[in-house]
């Protein structure tokens, strides 16, 4: 009962909103290039289904690749920082600097480094930069989150730094890492889209490219369709990771 009601209300609200939008467009004779009716957006979506799906896949693949790269770098740096105080002091301000620098500001530089012919590399790199910080700070916080008394037990039994990392700090970090990956995945998609706006070209045609292309041609319904696909994709990824999070956390807690 409660479950059904929890999605029934927003579903009804969505239908009412769409109906009002459709009706409004028709009654006011709004020009399609300015505000297309939902029916026009749906038609554009159906007409371009194959193209949009392919582009969505490109964006998703680039975002996931960026997530992997960012996780590897952030994880490695966080572990190094956990093992050495000096590394920690060096890495933290750098990580903070990466976080506060707008991705669009460094995009042109990354495009040059990646090579003009390799927009995909540039996009993945930029999305990885955006996804990096939550992963790094999550890993750092997680690795430092072990129970104080458990740490003392490890002192008592004279654990080596590697034993402490593998048997205590890394497993203690798990809940933080899971949460960090969820946040970073969303950021990776945003990063991929922003990077594509700046660095995208005919060689890397993700959803952002479709949006730009449709915008340049004033094909507003297609633009809307691409945006909707993007939102749906990000929402689905978030939902999926939410499920994974729940499962992993319940396993970690033992219930």
């Amino acid at each position: 009962m409660g479950g059904a009601r929890s999605w029934a209300a927003p579903a009804v609200a969505a239908v009412v909103l769409l109906a009002a939008w459709e009706l409004g467009c028709r009654l006011l004779h709004a020009p399609t290039y300015l505000l297309p009716a939902p029916s026009a957006v749906a038609a554009a979506g159906v007409d371009n289904a194959g193209l949009l799906a392919a582009s969505a896949w490109r964006t998703l693949a680039m975002a996931l690749e960026a997530l992997l790269v960012a996780a590897a770098v952030a994880g490695g740096l966080a572990i190094a920082a956990a093992l050495s105080r000096t590394v920690d002091h060096i890495v933290r301000p750098l990580a903070a600097a990466v976080q506060v620098t707008p991705v669009v500001a460094i995009a042109p530089l990354v495009v040059i480094w990646a090579g003009i012919d390799h927009p995909q590399r540039a996009i993945v790199s930029l999305a990885a930069v955006v996804a990096f910080f939550p992963l790094f700070s999550g890993a750092v916080a997680g690795l430092a989150s072990a129970d104080r008394d458990l740490e003392r037990l490890f002192d008592l039994y004279q654990a080596t730094p590697l034993q402490r990392l593998a048997l205590l700090r890394a497993p203690s970090a798990a809940p933080f890492l899971i949460e960090a990956v969820k946040v970073a995945a969303g950021l990776a998609i945003i990063g991929a889209v922003v990077a594509e706006f700046v660095a995208g070209s005919g060689a890397a045609q993700g959803l952002a490219w479709r949006i730009l292309e449709a915008g340049n041609l004033l094909q507003t319904p297609r633009m809307f369709a691409a945006i909707l696909v993007l939102a749906a994709m990000a929402g689905a990824l978030n939902g999926l990771l939410g499920l994974v999070e729940k499962r992993l956390l319940s396993w970690w807690r033992g219930r």
Binding site: L156, Y157, L168, A174, R255
Partner: protein, 248 residues
Amino acid sequence: MTALITLEAAEVAYKGRGAALGPLNLELENGEAVALVGASGAGKSTALRLLAGLERPTRGLVRRDLGSRETSVVFQAPTLAPWLSALANVRMPLELSGVGRSESEARARAALERVGLKDALKARPAHLSGGMAMRVSLARALVSGPRLLLLDEPFAALDEITRRALADDVLSLWRERRSTMVFVTHNVEEAVYMAGRVLVLTPGPGRIAAERRVTGPDERPSGFRASSRFRADVETVSADLAQAMESN
């Protein structure tokens, strides 16, 4: 008698918070059961960490005639890793000491059986009651065969029945193994029950205000808890504690 641990005017002070403990003079003899009783804030846990070698004295001296990995601590909370089974939690100290898998598992199994948890080997801490989790913690402390066992108010969070059962279990384990045991508590009755010698601490920074020999765990008749001797010991130490509270 040889002293296992000697504290000579040992003091602990923390930056910005001032003195936490001491000066403390104390000798722990091999195989004895000592209780440290004091109000909260007396620095009982600090004293315990000092005895464990987990903390260094700011001033004074701590001499420990103990090898590495010969000390075990049971904390106030069970302090188990939630992602590990009871068996894996108990195996941990042996794993850290480089004991092989099959031997460490057999020893952990035996330790859990000894504390009555034969049927909970695979259980995760989340599925254990407070008393059971504390038993796992006790098994983990005993699995390495320590010469010194330190207990930091281990029963504080348990109900009375569980607390009494666990107290008797700890004492019977102590009688079996004769490792030196230090039991820290704010409860006078518990202190008297768990030891043959009770040290009463003043409020923080804790110093030893009184020292009482009480009827030790190995010289007790059955039904000791209800006996007038036990009550008398409790009354004496209570009076010591009351005086210690006033002296500060």
